[in-house]
């Protein structure tokens, strides 16, 4: 019985994953949620509400870098509209600029992982999160 449930659960997870992959809008929203979670942890450290730990800094950097690598591929022409997307038409009009924005974010994000103390973290985190607004300003519509 337990085994049946376990198998069903694993299958269920598998199906969800496949569905997510086949739906780029859902997948990019989930990817951005992971970025948001990293920002929450990072902001707590930058504000001194949580202690600086190298492992945490590396985890935040990894969440950002993974997203920066994955995101540009999640915008096929078929996903311009639909769901709750707030993707701006500019993404498809200016693919080069869009990809360059993620490349810059990836570089800035990687620097967070090499921070040795809270001061270094604050600088690197500040630089990386400046990309949020500058990219959203151009490539995202109001919602």
């Amino acid at each position: 019985m337990i085994r049946t449930i376990a198998v069903a659960a694993v299958l269920g997870l598998g199906i969800t994953a496949v569905l997510a992959q086949s739906d780029p809008i859902t997948e990019r929203r989930n990817t951005m949620k992971a970025v948001g979670a990293g920002s929450r942890d990072g902001a707590a450290i930058a504000k001194g509400e949580a202690p600086f730990e190298a492992a945490k800094a590396q985890a935040i950097a990894k969440a950002y870098v993974d997203a920066a690598k994955k995101m540009p591929g999640l915008y096929p022409d078929s996903s311009k509209t639909g769901g709750e997307t707030t993707a701006a038409p500019k993404i498809w009009e200016d693919q080069a600029g869009f990809k360059a924005a993620f490349a810059k974010f990836e570089t800035d994000a990687a620097a967070i992982g090499t921070a040795a103390d809270v001061a270094g973290f604050r600088t690197a985190f500040g630089n990386a999160t400046k990309n949020c607004g500058s990219c959203h300003e151009v490539y995202r519509i109001k919602k």
Partner: protein
């Protein structure tokens, strides 16, 4: 025959009276008289700089496609259901900008929506909000703008459909929708609340985007600040009243944080033109961001217009 002639004469007379009435009533000086300026102290440039940031002047008037937000050459195209507006050059250039203006010209423009030549400005320029700034504040802002670099060149003309391309028509609009008084503090509220109300409704002109508009492009007061379709035609501007799915669950500090960093409490980062707004509000003193939040927290919960479901699905 005589009867018919009398009728015709009456009609012509009525038409003349109606036209004359319209002409008089839509006169910029009658529908939006100049505010009384009085004697002003020497301008406070620091306050002018603060108001420049709070007012988001650069967001529309900075020359597009270059990085210096203090080059106010204009030219940005602003879409609307009535046509396309082009933000003018407001740099202190004597020929192409406002270098030849006096304080009175600036106050008339900002608080009455009237140009130095005595013409109406279109309310795409949010004098409907800016008018809340008293002449002293406007003089400070004017003095600050005059310290910036003159930029050569004029923006393209607005491209508007008939009858909106006739500026005099704005007089009728003002008659219906424009109120010209400056900000009056509410003595029953705290100083912080009043500062916030002033910043949000005056220089900050938040309601200009965060409200639905009627067919004539005026803010629907019943759903003021409760969001609506983006006037530029893309997406949806969020409700910022205290409705539960708007800012009802946000703390005052969380609202101030958004105005500083652009991050929502769930660490989403705002996009579109709000990113530029945050660049501006980030320059304000923390006390001013908190005051804006204090005021927004005091607003009633208002449900905005329903989002069309088809819009999201198609």
């Amino acid at each position: 025959m005589l009867r018919l002639r009398r009728l015709l004469v009456t009609l012509v007379l009525l038409a003349a009276v109606a036209f004359g009435g319209f002409y008089v009533l839509t006169d910029p000086r009658i529908v939006s008289p100049s505010p009384e300026i009085g004697t002003l102290p020497a301008p406070d440039l620091e306050n002018g700089k603060l108001l420049f940031a709070a007012g988001g002047c650069a967001s529309c008037h900075a020359t597009p496609n270059q990085d210096d937000k203090l080059r106010l050459g204009g030219g940005l195209a602003l879409g609307s259901p009535f046509g396309t507006f082009h933000a003018p050059n407001i740099s202190p250039h004597t020929r192409d900008g406002i270098g030849n203006w006096g304080v009175k010209d600036f106050v008339d423009a900002m608080a009455a929506g009237v140009s130095p030549a005595g013409q109406h400005y279109y309310p795409a320029f949010p004098y409907t909000s800016y008018r809340l700034m008293p002449p002293k504040a406007l003089a400070d802002l004017f003095a600050y703008i005059r310290t910036l670099s003159p930029v050569e060149g004029r923006a393209a003309d607005h491209v508007l459909a008939f009858p909106f391309n006739i500026r005099r028509v704005v007089g009728g609009w003002k008659l219906l929708f424009f109120e010209g008084a400056s900000f009056k503090p509410d003595p029953t509220k705290s100083e912080e609340w009043n500062r916030g109300a002033y910043l949000v409704n005056g220089p900050g002109h938040c309601a200009e985007c965060h409200s639905d508009r009627n067919a004539l492009g005026a803010i629907v007061q019943a759903t003021r600040l409760a969001g609506g379709p983006d006037p530029e035609g893309r997406g949806w501007v969020p409700n910022i009243t205290q409705a539960p799915d708007a800012l009802g669950k946000w703390s005052k500090e969380e609202i101030a944080e958004l105005l500083k960093t652009g991050f929502t409490p769930s660490f989403d980062s705002v996009g579109g033109t709000m990113a530029a707004v945050v660049r501006n509000t980030a320059q304000l003193p923390e006390a001013d961001r908190l005051a804006m939040a204090e005021y927004l927290k005091s607003l009633p919960a208002v449900q905005g217009p329903a989002r069309p479901a088809a819009r999201a699905a198609n």
